[in-house]
């Protein structure tokens, strides 16, 4: 679980987050909703150590991880899948996944575990299995997103931060990505999800946080947020659907 308290962060000394406090309980899926520039990506970055918080604390399963460097946070079991995929283009699909398990190879666990996990990933993402020896640059956008998620899962994380996993994907693939997220939820992985398709995100999330100008203006069950007409018109768009998926 993640406990964030009074979190402040920004870029070039320009503050973006002004004291966020929230909890992502173990095994639950929390959706982070808000306009562009509200600070959604910044929140994820401050949690995973990609940027250094300027104030407040972040706890991962009870341990204070505030200000840790991102590789240390990753080793502690928190995987962050940043916006825009960022797979290693020259490496094959299999090697991308192996890199995901890198910190485990040097740890106590044996290589056999990693091989088993590779098989588990290929079972979860059959399309990747077909392309296991292809350079990942030759994958389509959707496949690259699947690979980014699979690579993060190779860490065996207890917590997953997902930043816009459906970004730039064709409608058919958006539906597939959401299916994967639902499967991960069934496996009780703790997740914090930033997603442009707010309705689709709220449909699978347990709880929702609404972010505005770096502050949480509303927190509640995903169902309640989805059904509230006032919130809907202010943050989710007038029609009340994403049109797809």
């Amino acid at each position: 679980m993640i406990e964030v308290s009074e979190l402040c962060a920004g870029y070039d000394k320009v503050p973006i987050l002004h004291g966020l406090s929230f909890t992502v309980p173990k095994g639950s899926l929390v959706a982070l909703i808000g306009a562009n520039g509200a600070g959604k990506s910044t929140t994820l970055r401050a949690i995973s150590g990609m940027i250094r918080p300027t104030g407040g604390t972040v706890r991962l399963d009870g341990d204070d991880i505030t200000g840790w460097s991102s590789h240390r946070v990753a080793r502690a079991g928190l995987a962050h899948i940043p916006e825009g995929r960022r797979v290693f283009p020259q490496l094959s699909v299999k090697d991308n996944l192996a890199v995901g398990a890198f910190s485990r190879l040097t740890g106590a666990r044996a290589r056999g575990d990693v091989a088993a996990d590779l098989d588990r990933m290929f079972a979860l993402f059959p399309r990747l299995a077909q392309r296991r020896n292809q350079p990942s640059a030759t994958l389509s956008g959707g496949e690259q997103q699947m690979l980014a998620i699979a690579r993060a899962l190779m860490l065996s994380p207890s917590v997953l931060l997902l930043d816009e996993p459906s970004l730039g994907l064709a409608p058919k693939l958006v539906a597939e990505v959401f299916e994967v997220i639902a499967q991960l939820k069934a496996q009780a992985i703790t997740m914090l999800l930033v997603e442009q398709f707010a309705f689709a995100a709220l449909a699978i999330a347990d709880q929702a946080l609404i972010l505005e100008n770096g502050r949480i203006v509303l927190a509640g069950s995903a169902q309640a947020v989805r059904d509230d007409p006032a919130i809907r018109s202010a943050y989710l768009g007038v029609e009340g659907t994403d049109a797809h998926p």
Binding site: Y11, D12, V14, I33, G34, A35, N36, G37, S41, E83, G84, L139, S140, G141, G142, E143, E164, L167, G168, L169, A170, P171, K172, L173, V174, A175, Q196, A198, A234, Y235, L236, G237, V238, E239, D242, A243, H244, P245
Partner: protein
């Protein structure tokens, strides 16, 4: 320490004013001569900064360009008996020519490769100077006499004022150039060269400009150096000197005239200070003492003491005090000290000394209040075909990314382009905007062939685009990003910029108003002075649209403009795209948000595996089984 605002100090002017009375305050001739060298190096660094700080390239050839300037003066005196006043313009011209030569490799390679090429250039020039004895007198060197000023032969003191006057002129010129469209173009090609080309700002042309300007200043400095030393020989202009110049730019701070001054002062004065061992011991002791104070302050302030809070002061302490006690001669360690300094600067103050000491004044000061309404360029023409693409094929090796694509965009229509990821949509946009030439097929725009033209030429004909992966000029503000695209609206040449002619100023002011209006149009007025790299993904996309509109295009190619936008933001985008269309600008729209495509497009083309599989009105497409299978998955 809180940095002082740069404007308050007007640093270059103030610093130069401080240098002005130098020869009169009872300073020995030795230090007057050092002051002279600082001023000459500063002229060269102003030029090097254009290449390093603004265009983000590397040059290890500047010592050679400096040498070319010096030897232009030397050869003119030695062979033709022509003096200083001929050498001055001649060295500018000759070194500018060599700058042009140097720009050619810079157009092909970047980074470490360019460093190698320029280092080779430097080595060749030095060897040629050494070997071409018939011209340069080879290793024997050349003696020069200073020009007579008002009938007297100048000593260092008088010559110092001559150099200072030329330095002030150089500072003023460089200031004008870098704050103009040229400076913005240089930075644009550093941050996102492809985007610069697609906005009609030719990377090729501006890189050549940058190298020529930089080389000309190096040549000028070389001539002044030759007449300052009154004797030149080839071994001065070695790669070590080039490295020293790069160190000075980094240390002083890139993109700053004050930085050039500080950098020059450090690299010239430091070796001389090091010769005074008593002084060095005091300095080392002071560094140790300051380190202890910093450590104490950090321990008091920090909640938890980690290795990170203490490593730097402890290292300084451990290094400085034994050094203060035991050193007997440090001149031998000059290069080591320079090396440590560069490490320190790179780690601790990437903006250099000037960036650390003075806060840059933002471009807000230059922005003017403008009418909020965009007042887009209205195109009024009869209906008809704007863009006709026929049989377009593009191959990458064995991969056929586009295969026989034909489509027609009519004036004032919004033409959707959809298809699965990897179906060739972005490749089509890249071919239309000239980034890749087509392998086969033709592109006609307003009846003229576009295929085979470079991106900047296509942009100037009225085809603007945005990018799927944002290509913003990250280190520039949102406002400046748009100004880059308004380059086409500015009147006059480089000389108008340097002289600040009225027609140039008027068109600059018009461009600023227009940029303000365009920012307002996409709803980014509040973020005008934010660096583009700090914008969120969706806001960056809006900035790209505003930037493309600054070209006053007839056709706008948008590659996933709604990616990363939330539902309410998409609704605002739809309204904006309609307004753009109503002004007569046709749009080709790649988008995965089907609701956006439905709401906006007059006609939609569907690509799959590089081929057109369907083209129809949006409503009809949703019922097309081929499109549902390939793309939609389910009927929306």
């Amino acid at each position: 320490m809180r940095p002082l605002p740069e404007k308050l100090v007007a640093p270059p002017v103030l610093a130069l004013a401080l240098l002005l009375p130098l020869p009169f305050v009872g300073i020995s001739n030795y230090y007057v001569h050092l002051g002279l060298i600082v001023a000459i190096y500063m002229i060269l660094l102003l030029g090097l900064d254009i290449v390093v700080g603004y265009t983000g390239e590397t040059s290890l050839a500047h010592a050679a360009l400096f040498g070319i300037g010096a030897y232009t003066a030397g050869v003119l005196a030695f062979k033709l008996n022509l003096g200083f006043w001929v050498a001055l313009p001649a060295s500018l011209a000759v070194s500018a020519l060599f700058g042009l030569l140097l720009a050619i490799p810079a157009l092909r390679v970047r980074g470490p490769y360019l460093a190698m090429v320029t280092a080779a250039f430097g080595a060749i020039v030095q060897i040629l100077i050494n070997e071409m004895t018939f011209l340069t007198n080879g290793p024997m060197g050349i003696r020069l006499n200073r020009p007579a000023l008002l009938g007297v032969l100048p000593r260092d003191r008088e010559y110092y004022y001559l150099v200072l006057a030329l330095l002030l002129l150089a500072v003023a010129t460089v200031n004008r150039i870098v704050s103009s469209s040229f400076g913005r173009a240089f930075q644009a090609l550093r941050d996102a060269p492809i985007a610069a080309d697609c906005l009609g700002v030719s990377v090729w042309r501006y890189k050549v400009y940058a190298f020529i300007l930089s080389a000309a200043l190096a040549g000028l400095a070389g001539t002044l150096f030759a007449y300052s030393e009154r004797y030149i020989s080839p071994n001065t202009y070695s790669i070590e000197l080039s490295i020293l110049f790069l160190l000075a730019v980094t240390l002083g701070g890139p993109r700053s005239r004050l930085g050039a001054l500080l950098g020059a002062a450090v690299v010239v004065l430091l070796p001389n200070l090091l010769a005074d061992i008593e002084l060095v011991r005091w300095i080392a002791a002071a560094i140790g003492a300051v380190a202890i104070l910093i450590m104490a302050a950090r321990v008091r302030r920090a909640k938890a003491v980690t290795s990170g809070t203490l490593d730097m002061p402890v290292a300084l302490c451990l290094a400085a005090w034994p050094a203060a006690r035991s050193l007997t001669s440090v001149v031998d360690f000059k290069l080591t000290i320079f090396g440590l300094m560069i490490l320190f600067v790179v780690y601790q103050m990437p903006e250099g000394l000037s960036g650390r000491l003075f806060r840059r004044s933002g471009p807000a000061a230059m922005r003017r209040a403008a009418p909020a309404e965009a007042g887009l360029h209205v195109v009024t023409e009869a209906d008809g075909d704007l863009l006709v693409v026929e049989g377009l094929t593009r191959q990458f090796g064995g991969l056929v990314a586009l295969s026989g694509v034909s489509l027609t965009v009519k004036r004032g229509e919004i033409h959707g382009l959809i298809g699965p990821n990897g179906s060739g949509k972005s490749t089509l946009i890249n071919v239309l905007s000239g980034i890749y030439p087509p392998s086969l097929g033709s592109i006609r725009f307003l009846g003229q062939r576009l295929d085979g033209l470079p991106p900047a030429a296509i942009a100037r004909r009225g085809v603007a685009r945005t990018f799927q992966n944002l290509q913003l000029f990250g280190e520039m503000t949102a406002f400046e990003n748009i100004l880059v695209a308004l380059n086409h609206s500015l009147r006059g040449t480089l000389f108008d910029v340097i002289l600040g002619t009225p027609r140039r100023r008027r068109s600059e002011e018009a461009a600023r108003d227009r940029a303000t209006a365009l920012l307002g149009f996409v709803g980014l007025a509040d973020l005008a002075d934010e660096k583009a790299r700090n914008l969120s993904y969706g806001k960056g996309r809006l900035l790209e649209i505003a930037r493309a509109l600054a070209l006053e295009p007839r056709l706008l190619l948008l590659d996933e403009p709604a990616a990363g936008l939330t539902k309410p933001e998409i609704e605002a985008l739809i309204a904006n795209l309609r307004r753009i269309r109503d002004q007569g600008v046709a749009i080709v729209l790649i988008e995965h948000h089907i609701d956006l495509v439905m709401a906006l497009c007059d006609v939609v083309t569907v690509l799959d595996f590089g081929k057109v599989i369907a083209e129809a009105e949006p409503q009809a497409l949703c019922r097309d089984q081929k499109v549902i299978d390939a793309y939609l998955g389910v009927q929306p």
